[in-house]
């Protein structure tokens, strides 16, 4: 089976990985790097559970081929907390009750991180627009929106 060799930066660490040519970034992260926080919910870009940040933008890792990640900078959910200190959005998700089963949570948090970086004080409509591609089946979304608003306030006042 043919292979690709990819050099990419994941959560601040530059690595070179040789893996199957038809593997997606999702399974490169999970199987080759053991980063299981990125979830597979549909493998066709419909649920957003595999959302990671690629060069700062949210993408579905299930729709990026390993070779296409060459030279890119990837942030996964494991790379968000620095020195054990949670990202404000992670804290807000906990405090606002935005986490139930948690399978959608890594993707949602990363989509929200990208939103707040571009739009520090988003309107509710902007939050909905930014999170359209992340399905959650447990919470009914209200507590997720509340969490993002709370984090935006916290970042704003920091």
């Amino acid at each position: 089976m043919s292979q690709v060799t990819v050099t990419l930066t994941v959560n601040g660490q530059t690595q070179t990985i040789t893996t199957d040519a038809h593997k997606t970034l999702l399974y490169l992260l999970r199987d080759d790097l053991g980063l299981y926080g990125t979830k597979d919910g549909c493998s066709e870009g419909e649920c957003g559970a595999c959302t990671v940040l690629m060069d700062g933008r949210p993408v579905n890792a299930c729709l990026v081929l390993a070779g296409q990640a060459q030279g890119r900078t990837i942030i996964t959910i494991e790379g968000l907390a620095g020195d054990g200190e949670l990202h404000p959005l992670q804290r807000a998700f906990i405090r606002s009750g935005a986490v139930q089963c948690g399978f959608c949570t890594p993707g949602l948090v990363l989509s929200a991180v990208a939103l707040l970086e571009r739009q520090p004080d988003p309107t509710e409509a902007q939050i909905r627009q930014a999170l359209t591609g992340n399905l959650c089946r447990c919470t009914g979304y209200t507590q997720i929106i509340a969490a993002i608003q709370a984090a935006a306030r916290e970042v704003d006042h920091a």
């Binding site: 299981y36 926080g37 979830k39 949670l86 906990i94 009750g97 948690g102 959608c104 399905l135 009914g140």
Partner: protein, 727 residues
């Protein structure tokens, strides 16, 4: 009751930190050295004879270790209530999701490639694609043991409904159709089978009841139950869809045979084919009432599509014995129901367990009756709804305080309805857009908590207190599943409260049949109520021993729930349930008369959690259930054709996105403590799911003057009933 310290507080869930950092391990996240990979070969056809199975080419592929078939399963059946499905089909396939064999290989890729090389010769058979078809005389028979394809029947008769209907001043009729619903939990089925250090056949997976899974595995492998172990890690949602087994038995068979760890992970398409659905049900009602709107008699027929195997179809149907009449009092009633075997994906548990369907029909009926007798929707409901001291239609006393009247009034008032004379004046919302119409609707209902019907119920828990002078650490052992609802955290709060400890000194040891007895499933809104009782009893016992100088001090065992009865012929002997949840919801909608699109503008939801152990989590349950109901009502259109699922992806089966849930929901929470639930709790897992559909359908009628008796209310269905429709 002394003032509570931990119970009643919104505290951080025990699992949320791991879940926001990516550290929580779901079944697919487990990898161990030397692990094999399993690819299940599904039938992928609704009804067929297996003429032959040839695995030669698959076995020849490099990396393939084995292909396991029916011949590898000592007792080749599984099933939660009725063991009517083969683990691997050896002769007959009855639905697309039937498992025929499984390929096991050194890599997932090899397993998948080899699965395509297994040659199975099928002879397709005629397909029963609906319950009505299956019940027709002369229909082909799907299970020899269940003649006429009758999976289950229910019958109840109280009073003399025929005479009462003949004499009734007002008679209203209706026929209602509710669709299948896919659970669409975000985590597809997955698991790891292995032999543990004690030699037990172990399956680590996601489910709703460790011990139910264990019993099915042990039976299939013909092993004593103590030779099997089931462990759950983080679980990515369940909603009833994980009550039945999916990967469990196949993984156990593989690990048992090969003595190596075996992992399997389903794709979304496999998940949608491979687990059950909310039942598609047709319900026919005839109601008789006095001219003043007082209900007298009901005759009700229920036809449920059980799908290819029973799963929980018999129990879901049985719940119609009380829920078919909604939350209303009748003197005379006849309820006849049948669940039919078909070649569809099996019907199974899904949040509400039949009550969303029964409530939709009953609420559409009361709405129609109100219209017929000229009473507003609130008054007609208040006139007929159950109150404290009333009985179910079975004769079973409604134990505990019945808060329904209070909830209806609170909901109506918050929604803007005003008492006027003998009745209520409802809001009359108007759209400002010429092509849109607004409407207002209300629905009320109840849902049992706990199984009832005489099923022995209880929950096991054990608490061990460590320390010398003070309790340094309390270990709580429970096998309860945390399917995402936060059960472990709530049980920890209950332990902390009982022990008088801060929460951080409680350590939960959970979801492992090797460390705790049967907690019972996370279903029927029962885990906080009953699992919580077990934890409190165990903690109290341990605390007593601690005070008696035991070190460590241990308490617990099986807490037994108050007994219930099956449906008994003598109404006075019935005691079918011991706890209920009640609710009332009002909806304001705006419908686009050209496109048929419905926008839900506002919802008021009045509920009674008895006592909220963790108020934030109670709201999470209510909102989550409500939004699943919005999906069932509006966007989730599960389509099968001749037994084949056509909506097997999240791009064709449309669960609500964050853009679809723009409705502000105002919650009115009244805490009226229940007698049975721990600290007075009532189950809140399901009640909010049963009301949005009838509230929205009533609002739609208010908006456009059309009764819609078939869900979901897709834009096409709504538009097609408008006079100017040109399609």
């Amino acid at each position: 009751m002394p003032e509570l310290q931990v119970v009643g507080q919104t505290v951080e869930r025990l699992d949320s930190r791991a879940k926001v950092t990516g550290g929580a391990a779901y079944a697919a996240d487990i990898a161990v050295d030397g692990m094999l990979h399993m690819k299940i070969v599904f039938a992928g056809r609704p009804h067929a004879l297996i003429r032959s199975l040839d695995a030669t080419a698959a076995l020849a592929l490099p990396g393939v270790v084995d292909v396991i078939t029916a011949a590898d399963v000592p007792v080749n059946v599984r099933g939660l209530i009725r063991r009517d499905q083969q683990v691997f089909c050896d002769r007959l396939v009855r639905c697309e999701g039937d498992q025929v064999c499984a390929v096991i290989a050194e890599t997932a890729e090899a397993a998948e490639a080899a699965a395509r090389l297994v040659r199975i010769a099928y002879e397709d058979l005629p397909v029963l694609s609906s319950a009505e078809e299956a019940l027709r005389p002369g229909a082909i028979q799907l299970h020899a043991e269940w003649p006429g394809n009758v999976c289950h029947r229910i019958h109840l008769r109280q009073g003399d409904p025929d005479a009462a209907l003949a004499a009734a001043e007002v008679v209203v009729c209706g026929e209602f159709h509710t669709p299948m619903q896919e659970h669409a939990y975000l985590e597809p089925e997955a698991g790891l089978g292995y032999i543990d250090e004690a030699g037990r056949v172990t399956v680590r997976t996601s489910g709703q009841a460790t011990h139910d899974d264990l019993r099915q595995i042990a039976a299939a492998l013909n092993l004593p139950e103590d030779a099997v172990r089931v462990v759950y890690g983080a679980i990515g949602g369940a909603f009833g869809g994980r009550e039945d087994t999916s990967v469990q038995v196949a993984l156990a068979v593989a690990a048992h045979k090969l003595r190596r760890p075996v992992k399997t992970v389903w794709s979304r398409e496999e998940s949608i084919r491979g687990h059950g659905k909310r039942h598609a049900i047709t319900i026919r009602h005839t109601w008789g009432a006095r001219r003043d709107g007082t209900l007298q008699a009901a005759k009700i027929e229920i036809i449920s599509d059980a799908g290819a195997y029973n799963y929980t179809s018999s129990e879901v149907l049985a719940n119609f014995l009380y829920s078919a009449v909604g939350a209303y009092r009748f003197e005379h009633a006849q309820i006849d129901g049948v669940a039919a075997y078909t070649n569809n994906v099996p019907g199974c548990a899904f949040r509400g367990f039949g009550s969303p369907q029964s409530t939709f029909a009953a609420e559409m009926m009361i709405a129609r009756l109100g219209e017929a007798v000229g009473l507003d929707p609130i008054t007609i409901r208040l006139r007929n709804c159950v109150r404290t001291g009333d009985k179910l239609i079975t004769g079973s006393p409604l134990v505990g305080p019945v808060s329904l009247v209070e909830l209806i009034e609170a909901c109506a008032a918050r929604a803007g309805a005003v008492r006027e004379g003998d009745g209520w004046r409802l809001p009359t919302p108007e759209s400002t857009t010429p092509t849109k119409r607004r409407g207002f609707g209300i629905a009320v209902g109840m849902k049992n908590s706990g199984f009832g019907w005489g099923i022995p119920e209880g929950s096991y828990a054990r608490v061990v207190l460590h320390g010398a002078r003070r309790i340094e650490r309390a270990e709580v052992y429970t096998a309860a599943a945390d399917v995402g609802q936060g059960a472990h955290s709530v049980l920890a709060q209950i332990a902390a409260e009982t022990l008088g400890l801060p929460l951080d000194r409680v350590q939960m040891i959970v979801s492992d049949t090797a460390t705790a007895g049967d907690a019972g499933p996370c279903s029927a809104s029962r885990m906080t109520m009953y699992g919580g009782n077990a934890v409190r009893a165990a903690a109290a016992e341990a605390l007593a021993k601690w005070q008696n100088e035991d070190r460590p001090a241990s308490g617990g065992g099986r807490w037994v729930a108050p007994a219930t009865t099956a449906l008994l012929p003598d109404p006075d002997a019935n005691r079918n349930f011991v706890s209920y949840a009640y609710g009332a919801q009002a909806a304001e909608i705006e419908v686009d008369i050209d496109t048929g699109a419905i926008e839900v503008i506002r919802i008021v939801a009045a509920h009674d959690p008895g006592r909220a152990i963790n108020p934030q989590q109670v709201l999470g349950q209510l909102q989550g259930g409500l939004v699943q109901a919005l999906g069932w009502t509006l966007t989730e259109n599960f389509i099968t054709h001749d037994g084949r699922i056509e909506t097997d992806r999240l791009s064709t089966y449309l669960v609500p996105t964050i853009r679809d849930v723009t409705t502000p929901v105002e919650y009115v929470l009244l805490e009226r403590p229940d007698d049975v639930g721990v600290f007075g709790v009532r189950g809140v897992g399901e009640i909010s799911m049963i009301l949005p559909a009838p509230a929205i359908a009533a609002a739609l009628h208010d908006a456009v003057g059309v009764w819609h008796d078939r869900l979901p209310l897709t834009p096409e269905r709504v538009a097609a009933r408008w006079p100017e429709y040109t399609g």
